[in-house]
Structure formats: C-alpha cells, structure tokens
Symmetry: C2
Amino acid sequence: MKIIQEVSLISVGSFEESKDWSIIRSEVRNAISLIVHPSGTLSFTINPTRHGNGVKPIKEACMIALKDRFGWRLETSINYATKSPGKVDATKVIDNYFFALEWETGNISSSHRAVNKLVLGLLRGVFLGAALVLPSRKLYPYLTDRIGNFEELEPYFDVWRAIRIEEGFLAIFVIEHDQVDSNVPTIIKGTDGRALI
Amino acid sequence: MKIIQEVSLISVGSFEESKDWSIIRSEVRNAISLIVHPSGTLSFTINPTRHGNGVKPIKEACMIALKDRFGWRLETSINYATKSPGKVDATKVIDNYFFALEWETGNISSSHRAVNKLVLGLLRGVFLGAALVLPSRKLYPYLTDRIGNFEELEPYFDVWRAIRIEEGFLAIFVIEHDQVDSNVPTIIKGTDGRALI
DNA sequence: TATGGATCCATA
DNA sequence: TATGGATCCATA
C-alpha cells in the first residue's frame, strides 16, 4: 500500500520536529508499505469492482508489523481520567506518554469519532501525538460502501484546527492501492452490517 | 415524547439569552412533544423489546410540526462558502441567519459528524445557533442497535467545548419515551443496514 | 456520483 | 452490557 498524502492537522508545540516523531513516522510508513494484496505479492493490487472489497483484512499486516517489528501495543484502552471513551487501534509508549494511531476503515461517520477521540487524548495530555490512517477517495469506490475517506473528512478540518490546545500533534496518512487489476481476487467481506443478504 | 435534559454545549455570546432562542426553544419542545406512539394516542409508548424498534418513523412528527406549524425548512443544504458538507435536518431563518437542528437517530458515530457539522456552521458564521436532538440511554436499548445516545456522546463534550469560537450556541436535547408497554406494536424497521437477513 | 443514514456484528 | 466497527440503503 502506498501513502499519497500526509497532513499535519494539529501541530502545536515541538513534537513535529522531534526525534520521536521522526522514528514513529518511519515505523508507520514502513508498516503501511507491508500491506499487500494478494498475499505473497510485493504490492497492493485491488480488484476494481465497485464496493467489491471488504476492509477488515487490509488493516491486519500493518498492525502486525507495528506490534512485532516496532513494539507497539494494539487495541489499547485509554484512561482519560474521568468518563473515558474506549480504545485506540495502536499505541507506542514514549517516555511514559502515548502516541496513538487509529486505522479508519469504518464508516465515514466513524472517522469523525476517531478524530474526536484522538483530539480528546491530546487535550487530556495522555497522547503526545496521534495519527489517523484512512483511504483516499480513489481507493474508496472499490471498498465497502461509505468507508471513511480523506476527501469526505477534509471539509471538517477547520473544526479540529479551531481546538484550543496547549500542545499536541495530529497527523493524517492517506493510503491508496498501488495497482488495479481485475484478475486479482476481491478482498473478502465479513458478515457485518448488511452483508448476509 | 419527553425531553429529559437540555445541555448548552457551546454558548459564546448572547444568543442563549435572546428572544430568538426563547421562541426556537419552545418550538422545538413543542414539536418533540407531538411525537406519539402508537399513532392516535397522546404520548410515546414503546414496546420494550431490545433492539426491537426502528428509528425512521420517530423523527417524522417532529419534523412535520417544525415545518407546518412553525415554518422551518427541512433538509436544508448549507453553503459554507468553500467545500461544504451536506445538509442539516431542519433550519429556521432568523434575520438572514440560520438556526440549525439535527435529529440524530443514526449510528452513534454519526452523532459525532452531526455535532462537527453544527460546529462548522457556527465557526463559519452561517448558523446563529444550533441544536442536536438525541435519545437517552434509557430509550437506546429498545431501538436499532448502536443508535446515537446522550451518555455515549458525553465523554467527548470537552472536545467541542475547547473550540475557539467568537460567537455561537449549541444545545443538546435528550429525548425519551413516556411509557413502556409490551402490548404496543414495535416501530417498524427499514430495509437499511443489515435489516433483511 | 455524493452524502446522511439505518441496520446488525464482533468482541471484551 | 458496552464500544468500535462493517456493511448496505435511500435519495438527490
């Protein structure tokens, strides 16, 4: 899988220039590059059937790489002191602080929650930085309908940029397939939502 | 239907003390009170089957009342100048400004988008004020699974309270059934999502 | 094609 | 019971 864009949605303070971010960024880039399809190949080729590919397996390889190669923790429950929202997909601990990563291939509305959650962690000071990974609009049509995608979230960026925060960093990685090929198998869909009809 | 709580999530400026808000508030309260089930009765009685009631018809009566009795516009497309997100459920025009209302019975993640959208309208200055209507956690178990509900959104309030804004007002109305009765029919579900399995 | 939604799933 | 998600629908 390739990264076609990186956006610093929130960058207050020096984290963006830190060594920590430089390392984390390269780990995330590296892990994303390890997502291939079909398995056994060296790049991510998608069958261009509209809404033809499920999203569940896509995240796998990236999460495994973050965990096994770079020592991240997966599905971390975050304690925000009081009433805490749930988990984030992956975290890396740096000097007793968390860097949090959310992989967003749920519904686009779920992407709003994901960003809100990362922002909350920054506000509470439990995250030093955070990142969201989501598909480009070019990949979007081939995946389960209404999956979160960069272009549809972008009009809301001003909301998060208006957050009053003392320190915090939030990056967005936009991912896309490397090639299109009707001969590769589609990615299997789960039984969620309305899949069984 | 009854309103069990009203929260001023954002209140910067004088809108909350204005005559406009006093009128709009009473219109919204009035419209919500007109939601009944089964139809023909005088209150909202729900069949307490877990996940047994669809949400689509619930909004109906309220929207019709806002439109027919109080002159609101439904499904208003909002022009936020540049890249604009879509529509809000209902708007009332006051001195060339909009008051916007979102009725949230989509997935809880969709409630995040709804608030983000209202906030964006406030930031852009196209809304003078805004309101979100959503079910209480007590009503929640009887509706389609994972519907937006107040208690699950509440942990995120600090995110929206941290928005840097010069002027704006955002209220949340929490609604609930008046009675529970196993003898009333369940509210019909649509064919959306995974309904047909 | 684009956007808000409605529905049910998986897992702790 | 609680939470993040995955899936397909309806409509303009």
